[in-house]
Symmetry: C2
Subunit: 717 residues, 2 copies
């Protein structure tokens, strides 16, 4: 063997992994899959209807997405999952590859699991079956590699199981050909009347080996060297449409190609914000957050334009219909972020909302699979739709206004009382949470007023402006400095404990009086006046982050991520820190924002301090890391905070980039010293959407001490 | 969708898993991979040269097979491994699939691992690459499924690494074509001059991306939907032969077919003993033991008949050449089992041993990859070869006798002293262990004497008979009742401590005086006489299982599996319990044998109480579970113990089955009450090989109390 001549032809391929334009590498899909993050784990594409991934048994609140990191048993790979909600649903149309036709679940370990945006891979414990998943918008693409010593492979189609409250009401399936199985699953849960149709296309002939009722089918096939693949198209309309979705989105069997396409889709979306930083941990958190902001709203129509409307019937449209609107959460930061980086989606989101309004008589509150769940309080669809209109997106403002007004003027969910009393009396409303409702309605009403004013509807403007001041005129208690429940006699409800919380059975929603004292994002200066002076407001706001009290044993589990009584783990607190800008003390915001970003967001399984809430928790981080936050619910005033990175380039659409540079930025230099916008000195502590939208460069100089920046009255928001 | 007509065509395929003839299902390959079992884990076929599996870093004694269950990092998948040895070697020609060309090891978890006879599967932690391995006799067959998001897959060829003492001395490789890489690895370790040649045939073109010296090559390829496969042929002769081995054994790319073939090969071999029992645990232990007895000796020639001889040169033969002879262990039970169930291999084993003798001047002691390691003491090749000849296998007895005699008469390893003094004086031998050497030589000499007698070589017979009695004439100390070291002046060495052990630096080998008092398997009755009476012998033997003493801090780690001073974890104890048969007290054997089978063999990772020792520990269990044990080293007298199962059917070759039935057998009924051979009353407490060989039925009736069976002097062995 001395004759072997060693090859000297050596070259190194540059690994695509280290390419500068690969953003998916920074995403850690496990963040938030433990603790109470309730984050979905699996394969999807941005805003896809399909979120295919492991579905575990529902063992409690922490299984809302169908997956909690602590678990090690799955019952299949469902095609759809929620991410970050506080209520479970979906998990529909689950497949489980198995060796044993009696098996209905499988053990697994995270050590045998690998996840990247758009790709999920797992080797099942025991059977050793290797599962790979990817997705397009409407199709879950499964590849199962059975162990080489398998003679007969099996795939269990499970239409019975669902997540959380979800219960199958009827189901059925039919083998259309040796390789095609179609069927449906109707269920009632969080979404009261959910209809899912599917078409499962197998890469090789399968035989229905066994069937249990209408809901479980065990398909078998002879195992060969090739993996078996299944494409599961989903439709809310029909099996025909489900099959069309498969044919249009994944015509062939190139699984790796589908994974690459999903990766590209994610990379394109994540690349809309390019950050420069040496902080790898923060970069990982940032891109994971950005990833999480694009799980919803989810595309909810078929490739041919058919969709199931809020009225339960099938419609056809030339727009992209969406679902999964967790609006009480997402109006705060997720939609304001969306308006910045997803301009082309705004028209479709608006169209979806207007259609829902036409079909159900009001804008969506919490829409899921065409169903209005009426979850949470207020009219959170109003700020979202108003924001799109006020920011100048190409929508019919009159139609928008009509929908806003109609939603604000309907009679359900306490609005009848609001119209009559100007507030919602605690003794007349049967479902509690009257302060939260009142404050949420008030901020929505401010959005209606704003658009009314722009459209010259003066009477309406005055009417809704008045309603938007209910916080001041009714709920604010000057004596205690809190928003309090008010009876029909106009008296504050007694007894009162500012710390106490009884989950969904007191005057607030997932919070206490301390957290709800600040829910006036639409009129911060008005709220300051309630306290008597900026000094007294500041004293109270300072104390929020310090005071310690007992919320009691029945407290809402959503009150989490606490700093004093500031609860970052739940949405009503999200704008509060930025209120310091309104009283000329932005440095107090800066230190707290940095604390929250560094400590309440972690690159770990339980890295979120509360439910992800369908992207809202993450969107807060994205905007805050950019140094921007839209406190006022609609219109586009982004208040400055403390930018986290050296530089961030935001693709704001139309080929424009808005660049945010923070010179001398580091862990100590957290305070803005001065700013330039497109080279010119900029003194305001906020910037308008239109200035962001046209592109340009905002250049901050950061320093270790508070500066005068943003303190002059004229420069405050 | 109401139109769906649910299919009612349902049928159940009978799972092949529950087929009665599937023996591989009872094998748990993990047994003995933890603790100190040193068992190989991976894919191989019975007696194959290739044992392909994960190779971990050598972290200590427990990594002799390259794999210890406690570990979680592997450095590749080597083509060859030892199983159960106390010294590490092999691990040659390792492949590691990777995403990152800087990676040289991979984390893994047993939760992502699945192993069945002839098949190994693992999902690597981190990279998510799915590895599957199978084997033929001379080829390791690898299938790597890279994650679907992989663009460039990489396979590291590592010729540098080895296990234990093994160090590469030279290596090289050459890319012969886009899909073929050949090369060699020469190393020095336990085997001083090991030569391995290989041919790696890839299922798709690979490019040499990077090379480190002559010993590491990183090959890359573009990842597609298909898995990449590699067939690694191994030869000790040349790369051409390695390639021929691939072409002959795995001409195509049917990986699953190769797995099925490996499974069939195992099933055929395991099916040679069919047991009937309700004890699933014991069945699992039994078939795992049977599996472990067939890892060695390993086939050690090429498909064309070429092999590398003990003289280091290439030979050609028309027989199957073997290697990995752990004879000091395996002459005791593994070879006596082999002569029963592997009749067609005996001629080749004998031919291999005779050739080795011709090439190196003596029979193998511990042969590894054509190298004589001279490991352990005595002449353990003699009983193995003599046994084959005495049992009537078709070998040239004169040639066999010549080899036995030559080995017994050479001058190395203390034999010169033995020839001069009749024993090995402790003060003249430089390597200790003189008592162990003397006793091992004595039992080998008894085998030589026996064949000499049969061949009518009277002088030789007398000479070797005399030598076989050295235990009595020299080592046995009547005063203490132990075998002791003797000086050249004929005095017992002082000081003497029957409990003390200093590993490999005292008069015994991996044991103390208590364990070596019994190493006279060739003349048990003679040993009894040394003690003065059966009663005194029995008293001493009883005490063996009770006495407790301190072996000291430098004791051999091989003294394990202790019951008193009986050490089941090491081989010199293996025949001891059966000695009770020789003094008419078989019931004392029965209870102890059951205790050992039930407690010192467990169906767990650390289920072996000592090193597996290349099948010997397992072979003890197989024979003991059948109720048989060959105490006397050659000739075929199998002594009865306590059969563990209701029934065992042993395929003894030539279409014959020997059936052992144990009526009323259970956990309490452990004592043989009476026996019938082929329907006739049988009173002897032993049976000859020739009676087993011709097939038939041995029927025991078991009971809860000792019986008269085997107590009469004429019925004892």
């Amino acid at each position: 063997m001395r004759r072997i001549i060693l090859s000297i032809f050596t070259f190194v391929l540059v690994s695509s992994i280290v390419s500068a334009r690969n953003y998916t590498q920074f995403v850690d899909p496990y963040i938030g899959t433990g603790g109470h993050g309730h984050v979905f784990l699996g394969a999807n594409v941005p805003f896809g209807l399909v979120q295919v991934g492991p579905t575990e048994m529902t063992r409690g609140w922490d299984w809302c997405s169908g997956y909690h990191y602590s678990d090690s048993i799955l019952i299949g790979f469902g095609q759809m999952h929620l991410s970050g909600t506080g209520i479970g649903d979906l998990g529909d149309i689950a497949l489980l590859p198995t060796l044993d036709n009696r098996q209905r679940s499988a053990r697994f370990s995270h050590l045998a699991e690998r996840v990247r945006p758009g790709y999920y891979s797992l080797m099942l414990d025991g059977s050793g079956i290797h599962v790979e998943l990817t997705a397009t918008q409407r199709v879950g693409f499964h590849r199962y590699s059975f162990p080489a010593d398998t003679k007969t492979g099996r795939i269990i189609l499970n239409l019975k199981q669902g997540i959380g409250w979800d219960k199958m009401t009827s189901a059925g399936f039919k083998q259309e050909s040796p390789t095609v199985v179609t069927g449906f699953r109707h269920s009632s849960g969080w979404a009261k009347n959910q209809q899912v149709y599917f078409a499962a296309v197998f890469s090789r002939p399968v035989i229905l080996e066994k069937q249990e009722n209408d809901s479980v089918g065990i398909f078998s096939f002879t195992n060969h060297n090739e993996s078996v693949m299944v494409k599961v198209g989903i439709s809310a309309v029909s099996t025909d449409n489900a099959l069309k979705n498969v044919e249009a989105e994944i015509p062939g069997w190139d699984f790796n190609g589908a994974v690459a396409a999903a990766n590209k889709a994610w990379n394109d979306e994540l690349g809309k914000i390019d950050i420069q930083t040496d902080n790898e941990r923060a970069r990982r958190i940032f891109y994971t957050c950005l990833y999480h902001t694009m799980f919803a709203p989810s595309i909810f129509n078929d490739v041919n334009g058919d969709y199931r409307g809020a009225d339960g019937t099938v419609h056809h449209g030339d727009f992209v219909n969406y679902t999964t609107f967790s609006l009480w959460d997402t109006y705060r930061a997720a939609h304001p972020l969306s308006t910045l980086i997803h301009p082309t989606r705004q028209r479709d989101i608006a169209a979806t909302m207007l259609n829902i309004c036409a079909q159900q008589g009001k804008l969506p509150v919490w829409h899921l699979m065409g169903n209005e769940t009426d979850c949470m309080v207020g009219n959170p669809g109003i700020p979202v739709l108003a924001d799109i209109a006020l920011k100048g997106y190409n929508v019919d403002k009159e139609a928008v206004y009509k929908a806003l007004r109609q939603s604000a003027m309907c009679d359900d969910r306490g609005l009848n009382l609001l119209k009559k009393y100007g507030y919602i009396p605690t003794d007349l409303d049967s479902t509690y949470e009257t302060v939260a409702k009142g404050l949420e309605y008030a901020l929505a009403d401010a959005c209606v007023a704003r658009l009314a004013k722009q459209l010259g509807k003066t009477e309406d403007y005055k009417y809704f402006l008045k309603r938007s001041l209910s916080y001041r005129d009714h709920y604010f208690d000057k004596r205690t400095g809190f928003m309090r429940g008010v009876t029909s006699k106009g008296r504050f409800r007694e007894p009162f404990d500012a710390f106490k919380s009884i989950h969904r059975q007191d005057d607030y929603t997932e919070g206490n009086a301390w957290q709800y004292a600040w829910l006036v994002p639409h009129d911060v200066h008005g709220l300051v006046k309630c306290f008597g002076s900026e000094k007294r407001f500041a004293a109270k706001l300072d104390s929020l982050f310090i005071v310690d009290g007992d919320a009691g044993e029945e407290a809402s589990p959503d009150i989490s991520g606490l700093i004093g009584q500031y609860a970052h783990g739940n949405e009503p607190s999200h704008h509060i820190i930025y209120m310091y800008d309104y009283i000329g003390q932005p440095w107090k915001a800066a230190s707290k924002l940095r604390y929250v970003m560094n400590n309440l967001y972690r690159d770990s399984i339980d890295g979120l301090c509360g439910n992800e809430d369908v992207g809202q928790m993450s969107a807060w981080y994205i905007l805050s890391a950019l140094g921007l936050y839209q406190v006022e619910p609609a219109g586009g005033k982004y208040v400055f905070g403390s930018p986290l990175f050296k530089e961030a380039a935001v693709n704001v659409g139309n080929g424009k980039t808005f660049r945010i540079i923070a010179r001398n930025n580091n862990e100590q230099n957290i305070y803005i010293q001065n700013a330039k916008l497109n080279g010119k000195t900029y003194t305001k502590s906020y910037i308008y959407f239109q200035d962001l939208k046209r592109g340009g460069t905002l250049e901050f100089v950061m320093g270790p001490h508070p500066s005068k920046f943003g303190t002059a009255v004229k420069d405050r928001p």
